[in-house]
């Protein structure tokens, strides 16, 4: 296996090195890549879309079709994890574990014993010992809202600064995952059910594709936001700017939901119990 690996690696490396002498120097401003197509985007982008961040303009408008499938890729990944891992039948175990919330004491109840189900003071847990750290809990409780706020800012400010739907969505998802890590999966399920996450991920991508379909219905080509102008009551350039914002929100929703869904399924191996 090692010999095979070495041969393959050397072949691929050799192939990549073979082209190297004809590479333009790194950072060469007159290389074909810098002179053929990209000047158009830089010079026209802001005028066409009111988005000074050219990357956003290209990503969400000129090459919006690519980005739609990018959102579809991440959606499929989330769905794939659900499809592969989710188990619906509950394991019936002989012994069950409960934690007494005020004291943090773990109760072990043998089969046939009386469970404190329904009591406010007890919660079911899965592993024998779950650390309960007040400092971590409190810190995360404080940080999470600010991370979420920042995520919203990143989504909304994608036209003017680095950011956009993907980055903001990942941040928002990270905030929820942080909460899940500091508490446990069950406490997240109480706030954000699996069903809701699934729904949000599909709705997010639907917003994107749906915007494209609306453009199509209004007489333009797919994803040509200028045709939204009449509906939004603005001129064509502003309509493109708004169109970008709409699809960024859709992407943000989808990415957030998928990040959470990936965490739900990977951390609990699809059982949706307490998780890590």
């Amino acid at each position: 296996m090692r010999a095979l690996a070495l041969i393959t690696v050397l072949m691929v490396g050799g192939l990549l090195f073979y082209g190297l002498p004809d590479f333009p120097d790194w950072g060469d401003p007159v290389s074909p890549a810098s002179t053929h197509l990209s000047p158009f985007y830089i010079e026209q982008g802001a005028a066409d879309t009111h988005a000074p961040n050219v990357v956003t303009a290209v990503l969400a408008y000129y090459r919006g079709y690519d980005t739609m499938f990018e959102a579809a890729v991440i959606f499929s990944a989330g769905l794939a994890c659900f499809f592969l891992l989710r188990t619906f039948q509950q394991k019936s175990e002989e012994t069950r574990l409960y934690r007494h919330i005020p004291t943090g004491v773990t109760l072990r109840i043998e089969e046939g014993g009386k469970t404190p189900a329904g009591s406010e003071e007890f919660e079911p847990i899965d592993s024998h010992w779950v650390p309960y750290d007040m400092i971590i809990n409190m810190t995360c409780r404080l940080i999470v809202p600010f991370v979420q706020l920042f995520a919203l800012y990143v989504i909304a400010h994608g036209h003017y600064s680095p950011g956009g739907g993907f980055q903001g969505g990942v941040l928002f998802g990270a905030a929820i995952i942080l909460f899940a890590i500091s508490h446990d999966l069950r406490s997240v399920f109480r706030r954000l059910q699996e069903k809701a996450v699934m729904f949000l991920s599909a709705v997010g991508v639907l917003i994107y594709a749906g915007t494209g379909v609306v453009c199509l219905v209004l007489g333009g080509n797919f994803l040509d936001y200028s045709f939204l102008a009449g509906m939004l009551g603005v001129d064509a350039v502003m309509a493109r700017s708004h169109g970008i914002l709409i699809i960024e929100i859709g992407v943000g929703l989808a990415v957030m939901a998928v990040m959470v869904m990936l965490y739900y399924n990977l951390s609990s191996a699809g059982r949706h119990d307490e998780g890590l």
Binding site: D22, H36, Y61, D66, F69, F88
Partner: protein, 502 residues
């Protein structure tokens, strides 16, 4: 709306896919009708696009209204027109035919299954329709990711096989992506037509040659071209039957289409055939692939695994035919993309039906199957005859073109490999027919049917009616494709081949 057919072809299934997810959570009964409606619409749109191509030539669609190279375009000509119809037809038929199995196996995750199914089809359609080299990569990944998930859900070793497929598939896609990166570095554009216009002046650059090899290697890995086929037999044989009858006919064929497209449109025959003189060695590699695939098929006694090795050999047919570099060879390769999709679908669907009723997976478990499942076995026989290449089934005609291409190019090794592989296929299928037809049915109910007409006591246990209808349709298609093979070549395939190729 006619102007938007090419976009609707991809947008309709994409949008419906997300709706199916939502429907899956609300009421599972909606999943199947929604999916079927979407794929039916897709099929009609693909036929519409093909009709338009037939009338007016190349159909272009500018996403977001921007002409390439600024925006991304869909570009449908005679070549991808027929491939699009083939994909849409197989996907629709398979969806209809496998419903009983799917609803039984994935009752608790029906929405997710159908969503992934439609997204896979969308990815394949997108790969075929797009005119942008990078967009192609994104869509390859969509088709691949959904494929890994669907395959990984199979019984037994499926998850391990799927993980290995994921490793190989990702390497293949990354190599292709690197190739596109090299091309972008050399030209500054990603659009296929624009690339073709800007490449000739730098044909001598090492960048173009490395990009060419990277793309070709990546695509060979994705299509399972021997010796890069290691992922294919395991992944397709262990996949759940409704999935293997979708991916086995379509995925490798679409990758071969991509190779044809990249070679004809991006690098153009001038570079691929004349400057590099690569044809000869690629055809010899194809000869090795055909012979090796046939031997591997002969060496296994498991039905589905045998069929996957036949695919490995068939990939060799198409790659070899294309690299012969003459009119007959390329026509044969393109015709075989469609024909092979149809006949692989036919045999895999029959295999799915057989596995549904029969517990074992080796060919020895097929005893007495002609009596038990007459229609299914009849369809299997038609599919088998087509793969062997018996007229008037479609397999004969594409093989005829391939052989005449080989003769015209003077490449007798390729001709010999084709004949040899047909012979092996003959052995493979007649071995199965013999077991299924002649050997007595050893049933515990005391069925003493020995020879002659004595099949009393063997209850007919056919596949569900829905499946039978679809299977028979697929078998009829094989004859139809055979009867109209000449028209397909005259009407579509000849327009694809550049004028310079004789």
């Amino acid at each position: 709306m006619t102007a938007h057919y090419s976009a609707l072809l991809i947008v309709v299934p994409l949008v419906v896919a997300f709706m199916v997810t939502i429907a899956g959570w609300i009421d599972k009964r909606w999943c199947f009708p929604l999916s079927a409606a979407a794929l039916l619409a897709t099929f009609l749109a693909s036929v519409g696009v093909l009709a338009e191509v037939q009338q007016n030539g190349v159909v272009e669609y500018f996403m977001a209204g921007w002409e390439p190279p600024v925006g991304i375009n869909l570009r449908v000509d005679h070549l991808n027109g027929i491939v699009l119809v083939a994909i849409a037809a197989v996907a629709l038929l398979n969806l209809l035919g496998t419903r009983p199995i799917v609803e039984k196996t994935y009752a608790d995750r029906l929405g997710a299954f159908y969503t992934l199914y439609i997204l896979l089809v969308t990815g394949l359609l997108g790969i075929t329709a797009t005119g942008d080299a990078f967009n192609l990569y994104v869509l390859i990944e969509i088709a691949a990711l959904t494929g890994y998930a669907l395959i990984g859900m199979g019984p037994g070793r499926a998850s391990l096989s799927s993980l290995n497929y994921l490793f190989m598939g990702t390497v293949g896609a990354s190599l292709y992506l690197l190739g596109v990166g090299y091309l972008y570095l050399a030209t500054g554009t990603l659009n296929m037509v624009d690339l073709a216009a800007r490449l000739p002046e730098i044909y001598d650059s090492r960048l173009v040659l490395s990009a060419f090899i990277l793309c070709l290697a990546g695509l060979c890995l994705k299509m399972g071209f021997f010796p890069l086929h290691a992922w294919l037999p395991n992944a397709y044989a262990h996949a759940p039957s409704p999935v293997s009858s979708l991916v086995a006919p379509l995925v490798t064929k679409v990758m071969i289409y991509v190779m044809v497209r990249v070679m004809l449109t991006v690098f153009t025959p001038v570079f691929a055939f004349e400057r590099l003189q690569l044809g000869g060695s690629m055809v010899w590699l194809a000869v090795i692939a055909i012979v090796a695939g046939s031997f591997l098929a002969l060496s296994t006694r498991r039905l589905k695994r045998m069929l996957t090795f036949i695919i490995v050999a068939e990939v060799g047919y198409m790659v070899g035919g294309f690299w012969l570099g003459n009119r007959a060879g390329i026509s044969g390769a393109i015709l075989h993309i469609v024909n092979d999709a149809a006949m692989t679908f036919c045999v895999f669907l029959a295999a799915a039906a057989i596995q549904q009723r029969n517990e074992g997976e080796t060919i020895d478990d097929l005893q007495g199957l002609f009596a038990k499942m007459p229609v299914t076995m009849a369809v299997f026989v038609v599919g088998g005859l087509s793969i062997i290449g018996v007229p008037p089934t479609c397999g004969f005609f594409s093989k005829w073109y391939l052989i005449s291409g080989g003769l015209a190019a003077g490449h007798y090794g390729f001709v010999a490999a084709l004949l040899f592989s047909s012979l092996i296929n003959l052995v493979l299928f007649f071995r199965i027919f013999e077991i299924a037809f002649f050997e007595p049915f050893t049933d515990h109910h005391g069925g003493h049917g020995h020879g002659g007409e004595g099949v009393h006591g063997v209850a007919i246990e056919e596949a569900p009616l829905q499946m039978l209808v679809v299977m028979v349709t697929a078998a009829v298609m094989l004859f139809a494709l055979g009867l109209y093979a000449g028209d397909i070549v005259e009407g579509f395939v000849t327009h694809v081949i550049p004028a310079g190729i004789l």
